[in-house]
Symmetry: C2
Subunit: 675 residues, 2 copies
């Protein structure tokens, strides 16, 4: 009897749904507010039945076809937004449901927001409305061929000419070409260009932002002096619908009014008017990053959903009776997948949390209070780096957990990863961000030391309280009560505190310890994450008991597996003492992880259902809601373009001649043998 | 002054070459024998100038175009092999230089070898020669839609019909369709099919191999009863030139002579003749895996070469004078890249080592001696899993170290990873292999215990000697002499021994410790790897002093970073004692790693040059030999198909209407405001 019978798959999925005690609908409310769910449902209903948004042909498209499809998606989205009177928020929900970067995503996430937040009132009036309605399509031109992370060294110049009251935008070197700019190559009509502002007397006052029209609004031809092009395909076939482009400027004149001047300004005579605070523009970066945290959680949610569903219906090996075993029941599988699922929940909650911090910082900023800015910026840097890296690792884990079929494009997890993977390098390379987190942590430590640990540390530096003189280190034994969330939290905080202290010492002594900066940044951020997740556990109190228990366990699993990943640093400071040196000191912790996983296993499908993905949204043969994975794989394969002919196009030109040459060679050999 | 000046790039690369003290040519001899280098050079010269083997257009191809190009490559290879009288070995070198799986790669690596090794003399005579000359093109049809790892449960049947002395090949269920088979969809004329052999009386004697003709050699149409098709694109755009296919068989008759019968046989009456040893066919698997180890090393060598070259000429931040800093000089960069480079060398050496073991096992097997079979099989399982997983991680590390440009398809590392990543799941899913390693280790432990630790353990179980009663555990302190290779080796051996012992205990007690099996398998394999690398260090003695010193340090770096990655398990058994509990007990080890990295840094370019990749072979804009990376990126981008028109094809249909709708909306809004 065949275990992987297709009816059995559907039965297995149904059984799994019935086995769970927690209600997906209740858990869904923890992930998004009620209104957010309603909006998504409303928009998803419109889009999922529209043939323009059919996702199933994506794997077959060439890059140019992907771009073309992206344009078709754009036009339809704009039409629908007019037809249904979508708000800007609705529009962004629609973009996220497509789950593919379109040529104008950067218009929505960078060009438009930067005009609204950094433009003067006149600029907002002139460009903001046209941008909001896509009467112009913009991109955000910062990175250059030769410079990414070090924005201060960008080479494009904007030289002010007082006589004509114009700026001259210019690319003085080969490496000053703008590069990687989403939408720039073929789509955008305008760009916000970051360039060194040069004032009369060759005075360089550093990079500023300028609105530059790139193409004629009538013919779409590039304007004089501007060369535009596409930088070519991306790795893993990622971002294939986006025309990431290059641009060079040859003494292009723009009016004085084209410099974004909410903060800094240039007078008609060419005098520079300073912004009130050097880092006001950091606000936008923090906002983008809080979105990235949530996003990383939802990305991982997709991988976890697909993989958990597939492993629930896939049966292989280890027979009990006539039936092979559901793959999800192997410890080596569920101890990989459930922690990934826990991460998805944790990252979504952390992203919401960071958005909250961002909003309270913003309202303080509006009152001229910059006290939370540096702090929030450092947290956002750390979280961005840790969460993008960890979600990528976990996502690939969910893909590999599916074995061979995970490598099919129809599994979809590969495409999700390919789209998500640049988040480790863009919006701040994760390794460069480490440095920012460490610097902020060392600064906080110095402040506290100077203040004799009297001042209450800010939320993200709370762990530093442990370094106050006289604080005694806890004596955790390997058989601590691992079911108590405060245990991993305190251990992660101690680890962060001791690592920051060790780093401060190593800076003084000049000893270079490989990887220390990364360990410190990770520790500081994980300590923060752990305390916030501990808070989130508290907040679950209002849920019905079954859902509370399940989510409690899931977040505890997040804390314990975070601790597990950090064990080498925990031990490096002797924070856990073994009972006997001959025994595995990590066994009790890992037994607890096993126990929690086994307790969560019957809830796994309900926990993924709570993410609320429709089959259209997921577009994965292995992640179909009803579990009928083999039928789905089969059906998708029939659409493969190579299958549209029985004998393939290259047969006569290539295959037949190879066989003929071979036949001749065999015959010749036989003939020689006969002689 | 622009730091990323293109002339500066070339100068930086030249300087880096001049700075190194070790000669690439000398180090190259450690990686391949002299003859192997000569063969590669000879074949590379022919291929690199042939337009059919131009690699530069690959990123622009659709899947169907990739397949088509793959066929063109095949035909040209066959032509060249006739023209130049290439041997089978030469032909395989040519295949590896292409570095893209072609539709007939599985013909060369599976179909042909399995016929030669498992066919009877008659079968070798009939099929072997035709296969060698590509008068037939074959594939290896094992995996099914419903079954991969559990080969015993394959559903395809081969029922023997004594009356006609035929087998009937049949796909009895939906999930029994052969699936994933490289070359099956559109290219292969024949398949070796794995099917349950059913003898008269419905006696199932398990999976056996059968040669089945799939297509007419005249028309290429599938033969009656056989349905063939392509399973669709793969994740990350990987394997895009290969027509991985499906097949179903509807009562297809083949002659009795079509069962591969070097070992097991079926008599005309339908009696089963047992093979002399159940696991004789394991030999092939071990051979394939030893190739995979070496291959993983060379794959990583490419990533390391590209990334180290790019980071040598890329300058960013941290100015000294007017010039920005070479990215490779940042500790966070070189402490990632040099360990990856060390892994590449170590894996290449380990692969050669395993080939040696394989050959000595084979010659014993030929004498009927199976004593080394189980042992070599277990080692090969462990090495395959560890080396593929670690090389993939390290490869992605080399890509991310390049920051933004690493995500360009022209960097090439993404494509290499996409092609390499299924090696973690095929030829044994790495997580399934863990189980095999653990079972073998527990068996070795029991043997030794029964023998009172008297019998000398086999090479791969040498670490178990440490469990002999009375062996005292070493007392390593955190400031041990980390420059002595025997220190990390002994620690890794102790860790393996104690983990195996702990696992044996947990099996007895029934406690489930999450992840323990993986930790044991990893530990056992790493201990073996470490001892072999220690041997390799001994063998460097014959090299000239400068190269010996450099390679010594590189392999020591491999050992120390392996230990670093294993620290949590080292501490779990208290194998390293801190000097003071308040200090980072890992600092001295990591200071040693830093020191070695700094010492190796000036040799990095020479160490990558020793891999001997030509620009044609690498096909990477960021890894060009002369360092002129920006020019290379620029030139490649100009070839992008989207750049062949200034105003893109979809403009009139999509972009213009969006802008027009927007313009109207803005005007309507203004009009309303006027009212």
């Amino acid at each position: 009897m065949a275990a992987n019978n297709i009816n059995q798959c559907v039965r297995d999925m149904k059984d799994a749904r019935e086995r769970s005690t927690a209600a997906p609908g209740v858990m869904a409310q923890v992930l998004r507010g009620k209104e957010e769910w309603q909006t998504r449902r409303k928009i998803s209903e419109v889009m999922s039945t529209d043939p323009v948004f059919d996702k199933s042909k994506r794997p077959f498209l060439s890059r140019s076809e992907s771009y073309h499809t992206g344009l078709a998606n754009m036009k339809r989205l704009v039409e629908l937004s007019y037809a249904h009177g979508w708000s800007e928020g609705d529009f962004n929900v629609a973009l996220s449901l497509i789950d593919e970067w379109l040529p104008f995503n950067l218009h929505a996430t960078a060009f438009h927001p930067v005009i609204m937040s950094q433009g003067s009132l006149e600029q907002v009036a002139e460009y903001g409305s046209r941008s909001a309605h896509h009467a112009i399509i913009g991109c955000y031109a910062q990175t250059e061929l030769g410079h990414g992370s070090n924005v201060n060294k960008l080479e494009t110049t904007a030289t002010y000419l007082p006589n004509s009251q114009e700026f001259e935008i210019h690319s003085p070197t080969f490496t000053s070409a703008k590069w990687w700019i989403g939408g720039l190559a073929k789509t955008a009509t305008h760009a916000v260009v970051q360039a060194q502002l040069i004032l009369p007397g060759e005075k360089n006052v550093g990079p500023h932002l300028f609105i530059v029209q790139l193409r004629s609004l009538e013919t779409h031809e590039p304007l004089q002096g501007i060369s535009l092009g596409d930088i070519g395909p991306k790795a893993f076939n990622g971002f294939s619908a986006v025309d990431n482009g290059f641009a060079t400027f040859d003494h292009v004149r723009i009016p004085r009014s084209a410099m974004l001047s909410k903060f800094a300004q240039v007078t008609p005579e060419g005098k520079y008017v300073q912004p009130p605070h050097a880092k006001l523009s950091f606000g936008g970066m923090i906002y983008i990053r809080s979105g990235m945290i949530t996003q990383a959680g939802w990305v991982l949610a997709k991988g976890a959903t697909i993989s958990i569903r597939y492993c629930t219906v896939r049966r292989q090996g280890g027979e009990d009776g006539t039936m092979e075993r559901q793959v999800i029941t192997y410890p080596s599988v569920y101890t990989r997948l459930l922690p990934a699922l826990a991460k998805a929940y944790a990252f979504i909650l952390l992203g919401r949390d960071l958005s909250g911090l961002f909003h309270s910082m913003s309202s303080r900023l509006a009152r001229g209070d910059t006290s939370l800015l540096a702090e929030t910026h450092a947290i956002s840097s750390g979280l961005k780096a840790v969460v993008t890296t960890q979600s990528l690792d976990a996502l690939e884990t969910t893909r590999r957990s599916m074995g061979g079929h995970g490598y099919s494009a129809f599994a979809e997890v590969g495409r999700i990863w390919a789209k998500h993977v640049p988040s480790a390098t863009f919006e701040g390379d994760n390794y460069v961000l480490d440095g920012q987190v460490v610097r902020a942590a060392l600064k906080s430590l110095r402040h506290l030391q100077l203040a004799g640990f009297a001042a209450p540390p800010l939320p993200s530096s709370r762990y530093l309280r442990l370094l106050a003189p006289g604080t005694s280190r806890p004596a955790f034994r390997s058989d601590a009560n691992w079911e108590d969330p405060s245990v991993p939290v305190l251990l992660l905080e101690w680890k962060a505190a001791l690592l920051v202290e060790a780093h401060a010492r190593s800076v003084q002594s000049g000893n270079i310890v490989a990887g220390l900066e990364h360990r410190v940044a990770l520790a500081v951020t994980e300590a923060f994450m752990a305390t916030r997740i501990e808070d989130s556990i508290q907040k679950l109190a209002s849920l019905p008991p079954r859902e509370r228990k399940v989510l409690n366990e899931l977040l505890l699993l997040f804390l314990l597996t975070s601790l597990e990943a950090a064990l080498s640093d925990i031990f490096a400071f002797s924070l856990i003492q073994p009972l006997h040196t001959a025994e595995d000191a990590t066994a009790p912790l890992r037994e607890a992880i096993s126990r929690i996983c086994r307790s969560l296993l019957p809830e796994a499908i309900a926990l993924t259902d709570a993410f609320g993905f429709s089959d259209w949204e997921l577009d994965s043969s292995l992640g179909v809601y009803d579990g009928n994975v083999y039928q789905a794989l089969w059906d998708r394969a029939q659409e493969e373009p190579l299958n549209q002919r029985q004998v393939v196009e290259g047969y006569a030109e290539f295959i037949k001649p190879i066989l003929k040459m071979g036949e001749q060679a065999v015959r010749a050999k036989k003939d020689r043998a006969k002689l």
